[in-house]
Subunit: 757 residues, 2 copies
């Protein structure tokens, strides 16, 4: 977590250049060379910054290291390791100690294997210089030590503490794949100094206001609603006013003073204005400003590293065709590398990419054109051969008959969408009505039939492979929801008829599926679709923040469980235990915490802890825990609030702001434009969004024109989105640090002097 | 409020050009011409867009119209008109109806006078085309009609409603001086369509979640803490979940479901994630994006209008010195115009500005140089002759003696500041301690003496006029706080000694002053000073938002008072009325509202209403009012929340964000640089912040060098700050729409080809 990426971002020039990379006029490249080049290209494409050994054996191991199943396995073990908290003391589902210990050992073993694999791939000096490897080793060692101590103490019945559990989420941060997460942590670390000064000023303001409150209100003999003395103790006031910033105790904290005189309300209003509105905006401004500044710098380094890797791939593949000429890469080698990088790439797509690179049709490309390959591979070009509908092939007479065509026109008509939107709305009303009524209950079958009919009609009219293409989000959504609802409803009815009762769980699922179906109506409205698409597009990056939150929550949950477990007990609704009224802790007798029935908000197991931490993120209400332990317990909640609400939530808001601006304002980048232009030149039909547009009518119109390309602008990785975010701000000269003439012309890659094929 | 500014921003080309503006080779301009030109320049400087009549009589009236006392009078009457709510039914301080009516009539009369004055200044067709004049006339008429109806109904003892009070704050928006406020309203209006679509999607999400909650939780027979059925009524759920977005009822709304099963907590967590975090961020993103976009466009128009006015002023002043030469403005005319625009301008400052304009020292300037005058006047150049200290003149031998010099060096030393910071901190601890203790009480005199000594020492060492200059914020702050504290403490002691008791009010003031003194410590820390200075600089613009909030609050307070007055009563602490337990309304018996003693949160008078609206802005807690009237009363609170929290607070945050970025990132503008360069060329000493830097030692070093200029970068108007905010984004070609060669060269005004004097 501390400075782990520096070595990754700035490529070490000496690492690969020292090697004897085969070069010269030999026409066919060896398998090893092609693999090496493809590794460079794919590293550039995914912005990986690993200085692997370039020996053929290491390259093979490196390719294995990046195989998807090994990554899935790694994340599976991380997940298992993290979820051990559910089974360990204090457990949701208690398991014997030896079982959790065995599983944890297995996880440690898996992490060690992965680390050894990584050590085999990269040179030893690089391995030991990388803080994240050291970090993993230290975590593994500490965990092992802790397990031994804990096991020994438990075996001898001493009090023992599993302190190493706090380290578990750090594995998520330090594995090779946690790049996005490390970046998020770095942007927090970078913003910290600036936040710190604003925070000091903010705390100074809180302290001054508290002192004023003490002087103004402390001597008036006012009482809180509980009859306790009001604002008589300085640190209490500081804490109350800090909580007021989170708006959790507004207006309660102000009422005793306001009841005494309305003049005191002015004090609180000024306080809220300055500390809640102005300071919180300034926090956001500072975080956002830092976030933008450092991210720009990081993206610049990413772009530089990517370029460097592509140059290395070029060095492997290059050959000189004529004496004294520029080194080039031939189409044959290029094709093989692209096939190695993306084995499932379509021939048509590959040819399109080649024709974008080799715009002069010379059968070979120079360094400048080659370097763009990594970016070209990141543009998702959806290639679709205009296949006729299977019914068309099977039974053309019937499929092209007048009734069939009429049906097709109907389904394509705007009215079809409107009719189904109305059906959804009617369905919404029926869902809202009482389902005890048999008429309403049966209507569900009608709606299910209507939705099934819609799907079948669409399948009849649209080509199935188009309909089920990976990017047809709403089609997949429809089918999954409708089919699941159908299955759940049938099971529910079957259970009901056979046993005469309704299973609550199945019914819940049926209800959720029914309501989710209504979301579909959003897709019909253009404006809504635009907002939803933006949200979906920034979704993966939001997941990074999700990981960040999980890491922070996990650490706080572990600490919180050690501090507060068993202090507050929850009794079931039907319990008659008198302790229920005060959550099983006499200290809580008569407190607001017990009166509001917050007993389930406790740290008694990891699930409750996580839910409580979410509640604390929304509203920092923690008086109960200070009551059952000690006033200093507030420090725990105070640190949590600063870290999560002031730092992480603000970075999250900053990210959403920036991502939205990009979606709103940035047009297609140069590279997109050049692909688009190329496709136009090749006289191919263009569609921004292919999903529902490739229709029977289209086939009938365009019949015979094969292949047809459709492409959408979609970024495959979060890095690509980030890069796009700062593309406009990046100084082109920064990128062209390689001063060779090819590199210089490379900058003009997307300019309008593009000639025809 | 609706489209009022369009006519202001795009200058009507035909308006002034059609007039016969005196032009020719005559050397001395008449008084009328100079006045006309100065009006154009000052309009350009302050970005006023009023198409006044250019006849000498109208110009005189126009100058009168902008005199400060008339503006103060206008704002005084607006304030009186607004504060009538304090005295009208339901009143804080009841006055008889005839008294408030008379005052209101007086206000209406004042507004009418101001409007008639305005009508005399601008051409009639312009007057009637301007929506804000029409708006004022309509408001005045409606108010008059309402007053008559109300008076008549009251006289005959019928129920009457003063509905026109809602219109009062609109006067604040529609007076000529409310430009900033109108701009804020425009940016809200512009953002509305985009916000509306996001809001619809947000509401759709709330509705879907509510439906799901109804289906999942409605049939389980759960109960809230009050024993009421939980989540059984759809609209109740919608409202509860909407309130959850404001975090007001978290975690209470979730507890019954969470107590039933922790699985339901997931439902609420997903809801909070989507609606509180993602949607609220999207609202901010949309508002911020729109704000930036439209403000940029407005500033562009402002700059264009300013340029146009300066060109008109040039046309009035211009003369052709040689046959066929370019028209120029002579220094004599220029001087007179500048003197008319800023009568209190210093000669040295004026000469500096002239030398910046007339960089070739030709005694006359062309159009391009002249046009920059409006911006030059907006740069605050603090001119200070390096005057010796009065003591120095009076008694040089003593003042320059060794002890005096030592004293001066001491005061200048960094240690002096540190010593006083330590004194302040010690003082803070003493304030925190119990003031009943006589030792502590007497220590106050010691601290007061120390602070007084500090001020006296500084006055001895620093030149008084520098010390008291307009920009020495902290010096003024110190003196006011210390002297007030001294006076208040003396009065307090006198009262105590004479009567033997302590006046609570005076003591409160003493306490506040004592605590405020501690703020001074902030100024010693460089980082804090930077943040505070930024806040002070964006202060005036924040005041615009203050006005906006007052307008919205006033309207809601008036409506709220009509809807809810007298429904909730507040009983004093010592009241023994049994109705006190339920705020005087049996409907509130046993509700959380009454239990938490929120009785003073009511709409019974305008002051309570304002305080309640602030509370509602922080946390939207309104269940009590729905209980005492009708469930539909929630609509009032719902609209208030949307308008204030979603729209206005977001625009406020957007403004603070943008202003902070500008302060962080934008360097000095071209114009500043040119002034700075000029000053450097003139070999004048430069100091960014003059306040505390002009010292005795400096005098001794620089003795004999008179005059010395010091200047700070400070923008005199909010417009100038806004302009600076978007300066970097403005396309220079947009500004140079005037295609004359002078206008073209005007763009190069601040470039490095500046020659020496």
């Amino acid at each position: 977590m501390s400075e782990p990426e520096k070595s990754e971002n700035i490529p070490d020039e000496s690492a690969g250049e020292g090697k004897e990379i085969p070069n010269g006029g030999n026409p066919a490249k060896s398998r090893e060379e092609l693999e090496l080049a493809s590794v460079f290209v794919s590293d550039a494409q995914y912005n990986r910054n690993i200085f692997f050994d370039t020996s053929p054996r290491a390259v093979r191991l490196y390719l294995l290291y990046h195989r998807w199943f090994l990554k899935v396995l790694l994340y599976f073990f991380i997940l298992v390791n993290l979820s051990l908290a559910v089974f360990e003391e204090p457990a949701v589902f208690p398991l014997p100690l030896w079982a959790t210990m065995m599983v944890e050992l297995l996880c440690l073993l898996a992490f060690s294997f992965r680390l050894v694999h990584y050590a085999k791939v990269i040179p030893p000096d690089k391995f030991w210089k990388d803080p994240k490897n050291i970090c993993i080793i230290v975590i593994l060692m500490l965990t092992l030590v802790d397990m031994i101590i804990y096991g020994a103490l438990k075996a001898t019945n001493y009090y023992a503490l599993r302190w190493s559990r706090v380290l578990r989420p750090l594995l998520l941060v330090n594995v090779t794949e946690g790049r996005q997460l490390r970046r998020a942590f770095r942007s927090i670390r970078n913003a910290l100094p600036q936040i710190f000064y604003v925070f000091l000023l903010f705390m100074f303001s809180v302290l001054i206001f508290s002192l004023m409150a003490l002087k103004l209100l402390g001597k008036r003999g006012l009482q809180t609603i509980d009859g306790a003395p009001y604002f008589t103790h300085y640190l209490e006031i500081v804490f109350d006013l800090y909580v007021l910033v989170t708006t959790a105790n507004s207006p309660d904290v102000m009422m005793p003073a306001y009841n005494a005189s309305f003049v005191f309300a002015i004090f609180f209003i000024v306080y809220i204005l300055i500390n809640t509105y102005i300071f919180m905006s300034v926090f956001l401004a500072v975080v956002y400003n830092n976030y933008k500044k450092y991210l720009k710098e990081e993206v610049r380094q990413l772009v530089r590293a990517k370029r460097h890797k592509m140059v290395r791939a070029f060095a492997v593949l290059q050959e000189v065709r004529e004496e004294g000429g520029e080194p080039v890469v031939t189409q044959a080698n290029w094709n093989q590398v692209v096939r190695l990088v993306r084995p499932n790439i379509d021939n048509a797509h590959r040819e399109l990419l080649w024709s974008v690179c080799d715009d002069k049709n010379q059968g070979a490309i120079g360094k400048a054109a080659f370097v763009q390959l990594a970016d070209l591979l990141n543009i998702e070009v959806i290639t679709l051969k205009s296949r006729p509908h299977p019914f068309h092939s099977l039974c053309p007479a019937l499929y092209l008959s007048a009734p069939s065509r009429l049906l097709s026109r109907m389904v394509h008509h705007r009215a079809f969408v409107i009719v189904y939107d109305i059906i959804i709305l009617v369905n919404a009303i029926f869902i809202g009505l009482d389902e005890e009524n048999p008429m309403i209950a049966n209507s569900e079958w009608v709606f299910l039939a209507l939705y099934l009919l819609e799907i079948l009609l669409k399948l009849y009219v649209f080509e199935p492979r188009t309909f089920f293409s990976r990017h047809s989000f709403w089609n997949w959504f429809d089918i999954i929801i409708v089919v699941s609802a159908l299955i759940a409803t049938i099971i529910n009815s079957a259970v009901k008829i056979s046993g005469g009762y309704t299973s609550r769980q199945i019914l819940d699922i049926v209800f959720i599926l029914r309501v989710l179906r209504l979301i579909r109506v959003v897709d019909s409205i253009e404006r809504f679709r635009a907002i939803i698409n933006t949200l979906i597009r920034i979704g993966p990056a939001i997941l990074t923040f999700g990981q960040l939150i999980v890491v922070v929550y996990y650490v706080f949950a572990m600490v919180g469980m050690e501090l507060f477990k068993g202090k507050v007990k929850f009794y079931e609704e039907d319990s008659t235990d008198p302790a229920k009224a005060y959550c099983g802790n006499p200290l809580l007798r008569g407190t607001a915490f017990a009166q509001l029935n917050y007993c389930k908000n406790n740290f008694n197991n990891v699930v409750s802890s996580f839910i409580l931490l979410v509640e604390l993120t929304v509203v920092n209400q923690c008086s109960g825990f200070a009551t059952v332990t000690h006033v200093s317990a507030r420090i725990f909640f105070f640190i949590f609030h600063i870290l999560v609400v002031i730092v992480i939530i603000n970075i999250f808001v900053a990210f959403v702001l920036e991502a939205f601006f990009v979606e709103y304002s940035v047009d297609k980048s140069d590279l997109h434009t050049s692909v688009e232009r190329k496709i136009t030149e090749l006289e191919l039909a263009l569609e921004q969004y292919v999903t529902m547009t490739l229709t029977l009518t289209d086939y009938l119109q365009m019949f015979g024109r094969i292949p047809v390309y459709f492409y959408t602008f979609r970024y495959r990785t979060v890095d690509a989105l980030l890069q796009r975010m700062f593309e406009a701000d990046l100084d082109p000269e920064d990128l062209a640090e390689d001063d060779s003439p090819e590199a210089q012309t490379g900058r003009n890659f997307g300019n309008p002097t593009f000639s025809s094929v």
